[in-house]
Amino acid sequence: MTTRHVDVAVIGGGLVGAAIAFGLRAPGKRLAVLDEGDVAWRASRGNFGLIWVQGKGQGLPAYGTWTQRSARAWPALAEALRKNTGVDVALQQRGGLHVCLSAEELDARAAKMSALLAQPGFERYAIEVLDRAGVVARLPGVGPNVVGGTWSELDGDCNPLRLLRALHAAIAAAGGEIITGAAIDVIEPRAHGFVLRSARGIVECETLVLAAGLGNARVAPMVGLVAPVVPNKGHIIVTERVAPFLSMPLETIRQTDEGTVMIGDSQQARGFDDTLELPVLAVLADRAAQVFPQLRGVRVNRTWAALRVMSPDGFPIYAQSTRHPGAFLATCHSGVTLAAAHAYHLAPAIAAGTLPPEFLPFAAERFDVRAAA
């Protein structure tokens, strides 16, 4: 068994772990990312690719602020990745639309957005409620069933597969080691640091970051943390490539930089089951075809389902172990949107050794309150 000695070990090579590791890289710092491999539940390879702000933070204004910070930091992240790796992650931030297919849907959406923005302490931004003409002005090809929608200029998207690849390449270029097939057997806290035992040997580190997605539920208690995350299943349909027709992403439909159309946004609690369900795909396809009737003539190339990493209230968990202060935990279901915040705001806090008070709203203790009540 080999033993590696590093300053920082990150458990989880998905978008959350890789973004944090990217933000942690520094001259002379020894960095290892332990990744379970392709047997892992790969939310990072199954996701939709939105950088989405609109509508987030109902019930936790700090999450709205955090999401906006990430969206604002995204151009710097995309540029840094391009400079470090030559990979273009196809960042677009020209706004995004949520479209509604009935008057009731639109009324409910508008009410939800105004309630969101009216929360005390919410960092406000413009969410425009559009009637049909307003949607048509932005998306001329929408079908007759589209009655309106909401629009925010903060939304956008990127190519999430290239994002993951670029983050890994940048980590490696900075001397970080990405160890695959390294499912964690056990974490042993020591007086100053941690010993991680995995199928790929032993890693000893001073600072430990748990970013193992759904796997965090298992490993967090090993260092005195909790991560009550469960799978949330999402289906995605991908079409053949078509010439660019969609100038901005919708919450449920986007066109990639390479021309394919992605259709998604289903949410189901199905445990660890990522098998396809035809009725769900049918609903996704039908709604997409109502929004853009011309999609009916476009071939579907692939469909898949993947598992989001969902906390009880849907918000991220960021935590530092009280018992073992060198251990940090990060988990969320928006690894793309929050990648820039993880790289540029969370990672520096971890590097400094303490999560500042702004992270308190995201501590896992918030779930204890409900249990005690």
Partner: protein, 105 residues
Amino acid sequence: MFARLPDPADLRDVVDVVVDGAPVAARAGDTVAAALLAAGVAHCRTTPVGGAPRAPFCMMGVCFDCLVTIDGIGSQQACLVAIAPGMRIDRQRGARAIDGTAGPG
């Protein structure tokens, strides 16, 4: 690059089609891909992202490299469509448009 095997027993009718606006004599029973190859068409499309030329490859509906525009409808698999008299076949540049037409090229 390709030529039909000399076959005195081949009594199939000649079928006239149009490729990129020019008349081409195919044979009854040809797929569009076979007709294009026999007519010496070197590539039938360019890729949407890199713009690289592509020609029919697998000839059995799997590789999707033989996409062409047939009678105005883009992204047709040339190896799976039988030619018909007067068929209008256009090589495809890049992705088709969402409305089914050839796209901006």
